[in-house]
Symmetry: C2
Subunit: 127 residues, 2 copies
């Protein structure tokens, strides 16, 4: 679970072979977490600092969302100084659940970085 010895600064995460479908679906089943995933996907593999996500939630709620995504295996987090850097675990997800992340990303509305004031269409909180 903890790869710190191999990669200093890496926060604990499940190995690719142990990702669980229920946990990944749960992690994705939230509009804020979907926005994080969409922004990371749009970064094309680049790491994004948590502070780059201008979500309309408190810092502690944002920390919670990133932790849910990391513990489910959707994202990878590294500490860099006082920052946490994030990437999507695209290859691990594709290997374990082929087509799932692509289908979710394709279903998301366009989510521009400068449109944080209102939720993107289709990302309503309530069912």
């Amino acid at each position: 679970m903890d790869h710190d010895q191999d990669c200093p600064g890496l926060l604990p995460e499940p190995p690719a072979a142990e990702l669980k479908l229920v946990c990944v679906l749960h992690a994705l089943a939230d509009p804020m977490r979907l926005r994080i995933v969409a922004e990371l996907a749009g970064a094309g593999g680049d790491e994004l600092n948590c502070l780059a996500f201008e979500l309309p939630v408190t810092k502690s709620t944002m920390t919670h969302h990133f932790r849910v995504l990391r513990e489910a295996g959707v994202i990878r987090q590294h500490r860099r100084g006082t920052s946490k850097m994030n990437t999507l675990r695209t290859e691990d997800l594709a290997a374990r659940f082929p087509g799932l992340l692509e289908a979710v990303l394709a279903a998301l509305p366009h989510c521009p970085r400068d449109a944080h004031a209102t939720p993107a269409a289709g990302l309503e909180t309530n069912c």
Copy 2:
């Protein structure tokens, strides 16, 4: 929302064009609901009676799971006499979220109808 006038016995459901990704993901993010979806997919479009699902949960919990799936638009439910009959909304889901249901079903372990005593591998409740 309510198609009863068009189709007597149909329980209320969201129209295909109004299915929400977050709600569908939430509905799928549960091991019992995934088993229901897997069994319905295995039925090849045939209707299945709620009573045909021998899940290790109480009747009220089972009713809850079916309702969550129906209200998210994952399944369709008809009353037939005192029974509720269920089908997957495969075409509606494919039209709104192409590839999503297929990816989820492909990620599921084989879930035989006679293996209800223990959860199928990969369908653990805890993340």
